[in-house]
Symmetry: C2
Subunit: 448 residues, 2 copies
């Protein structure tokens, strides 16, 4: 039987996270205070994050040990399997070898618990009793709810009201894990009350929910805040994905010519790519990296590399990143995890320095790729992942045309069992594609 | 790190199915023709099943080889992991060691593809072009849709109308795999039209949907019918679960004192239990087997062991089994997979001969167990599995009281990501429990 699955034992769960900052051939631009435009130090993060997380956020150490207790929880689903997509290869009639790392086997069905668990752990170790966060459709919120439960913390989730009302399943999942979930805007915070005074029927937004979660944490004695993407420490935790993938590719006897992932905030892409970036930087490898985003939110392909706020409300330190402007509001595409105006500063810098390339696709093309994948490999991918799959199929077809036997690896960061309504709309031909006129992007960027 | 996960490589996917019929210390009662009450031979099944399946249905061979192509598809998710539930053990403060086999990693999230794939394979090998089946909430239908897709068959699913309307997600999954799905009753079959004439607004039932799927297959040149539980060949295919579990328990260094599973038609329970039954029968083991059902459909605990129809319409051969009467209509509990009036003849016979014991629980107690499990182990179980978990928790607490270090194994046959509305109702205290007065069961059985 041809081998299609490459497994590691739980003893092979990585013992340390990989911090690419240690190996970058350029300096990272520090976050700035928006008023003084002076670099902000770690102390600016102390009111909302525990010390261990702040130190990781600014660390330049190459490796950071993973606490044994965190590895013990990882063992509930890690190491995740690496698959060779032989059926997809045959369906595409391509000489390319396609591999995927499957993160959908986690309890919440995505890669998000990889960082939720250590974040909950470090908070508990420093005496924090409760974590607050925001969530859109609920992928991140359900993962933090799970992590808080296993670490014995309380968890308060501010969920964008329109998702709270229309997509109840992940909310119920958070409640099943024991979290409290509020439709944001709420009357529990000044930020929320201010919005409700002006717009009593506000559907909410991720920006408002962030403001509420941060305010809740900053004004509580025993609570801190937790973020599921963008920041360095989040990408750091996700490097378990790529480290495992390197060992599993060794088992396959091959090495990826291309590594592909979808990008929203950048954490699943960073998770699989950064350990392979290390191999390029330190060990003479020459892998291509392709970050895939929606044309509806073309941060890397059409945004500007500049300082901008991380949140839409403009309250965070300024970060140097690719951005469409913090007031940019992408249309309601189904790949909700890719609707972010900015991009992780680490990923942005690697794109800016030419170590990572970027592509954008409209959503119908990505759903077509997602369905094709499901029909070949069985797993129904989340709409976010379908972006990566579209790029993989294109790369495989390019390989076929060039007669090259490329080895392609991508991160299948979550299943689509909570996204079937989107598949239905695609199958019924009711999905819209978005492509911005140049002036519209310019208008949004003009505010920076 | 304490080991919590026991993995096998894909080379260790079983090479043959185990047929317990070969080793039973008693004769099985044959199916009967309902009119003549004479035993029916395999020829009675030929119009709706391919020859290879019919031969498996009546086989007395101990082992039946698994085709390499089927093993290749199994490799998309098999071998499934075996976990030691250390966090649950600690939460229960029990000396018992609790293990679970996790079938939720399959593309459709349950054990059903274990039989859907070989059924599609044998049909294709015999020139069948299309399979028909019925489905309630869609667990089985989505698995057959997946299997037909990978084997290159068309698939027609008759889905009970009330589920079609109220639970669209699994229908969309079937359509994503490329199947056609009709709300039953339809006007495509005589059986469906007859119902619609009398009840134009009929919500449908599994019995009606079976009649439609069987009629469709029996009246089509190139179509056959496929069933997802109850019959011998279905339980046979599911024995990959128990065979893997035996090897994984060896890796753990322990052997189960008790094997637990939920029972509806009996296929997931048979799948994990029958290979361990073999060990009792042939190799001097003394494992207890506990089959768990809902008090709302207490087939094994309160039904009668007698000949009855397999379908509610009374069109199949009569099978000797535990039954509540084929006209018994269980209330709409959320464990839809356990709402069957009868029980697999194989499981029924083993219960009748004292090799398997049965327990029944009301649904609130099972959801309480399911939430407890999710909060300890992360995985949110399907409501069906929550019945098994309730029994496991009770057994673990009995072990604690007796001071015995029992080893308990159960089959976590599917995740609950499509069942979150049920969890919400439980958390809101809106679930009802059902316990039948003796007369009500008697009334249903009086018709036999």
């Amino acid at each position: 039987m041809e081998q299609t699955k490459f497994l590691l034992s739980e003893r092979e769960i990585p013992e340390r996270w990989y911090n690419v900052v240690a190996d970058l051939p350029f300096a990272l631009n520090p976050p700035l205070n928006p008023e003084t435009r002076e670099p902000v130090g770690p102390e600016a993060l102390a009111p909302i994050f525990p010390e261990a997380i702040v130190l990781q956020e600014v660390s330049t150490e190459r490796y950071i040990p993973i606490p044994e207790e965190v590895r013990g929880v990882y063992a509930l689903w890690r190491p995740t399997p690496l698959y060779r997509a032989r059926r997809l290869e045959r369906a595409l009639d391509t000489p390319a070898h396609i591999y995927y790392k499957y993160e959908g086997v986690s309890p919440t069905g995505s890669h998000k618990p990889n960082t939720a668990v250590p974040q909950a752990y470090y908070n508990r170790e420093e005496g924090v009793r409760r974590l607050t966060t925001e969530t859109g459709a609920g992928q991140w919120g359900s993962s933090l709810a799970f992590a808080c439960r296993v670490m014995g913390l309380e968890c308060t989730v501010y969920m964008v009201r329109v998702s709270y009302d229309q997509k109840p399943y992940r909310r119920i999942m958070m409640e099943t894990y024991g979290s409290e979930v509020f439709p944001s805007p709420t009357d529990r915070t000044r930020a929320g009350r201010k919005v409700l005074e002006e717009h009593p029927d506000s559907p909410g937004s991720l920006g408002i929910a962030i403001s509420e979660a941060v305010e809740d944490a900053a004004t509580s004695e025993d609570a801190k805040y937790s973020l599921g993407s963008v920041l360095n420490h989040v990408l750091l935790h996700q490097t378990v994905i790529g480290q495992e993938a390197i060992r599993q590719m060794e088992l396959s006897g091959e090495y990826p010519d291309v590594v592909v992932g979808c990008v929203g905030g950048g954490s699943n892409f960073g998770g699989i790519a950064l350990p392979f970036v290390r191999e390029n930087l330190l060990n003479g490898r020459n892998t291509r990296f392709v970050a895939v985003e929606p044309t509806a939110c073309p941060t890397l392909t059409r945004g500007r590399y500049t300082y901008d706020f991380g949140d839409t409300a403009g309250t965070t330190p300024l970060m140097k990143m690719h951005t469409l402007g913090h007031t940019f509001v992408p249309p309601g595409i189904h790949a909700g995890g890719l609707r972010y105006h900015g991009e992780a500063p680490l990923i942005s810098a690697l794109v800016e320095h030419g170590l990572i390339e970027a592509r954008a696709y409209p959503q119908n093309a990505t759903f077509e790729a997602g369905v094709r994948f499901a029909r070949a490999e069985g797993i129904l991918p989340a709409p976010e992942v379908a972006h990566a799959i579209k790029a993989v199929i294109d790369l495989a077809q390019e390989a076929r045309e060039a007669g090259e036997q490329k080895v392609i690896l991508f991160n299948l960061c979550g299943h689509g069992h909570f996204d079937l309504a989107a598949y239905e709309q695609y199958l019924a031909g009711r999905l819209e594609d978005y492509e911005y006129p140049e002036e519209e992007i310019d208008r949004s960027l003009a505010g920076l």
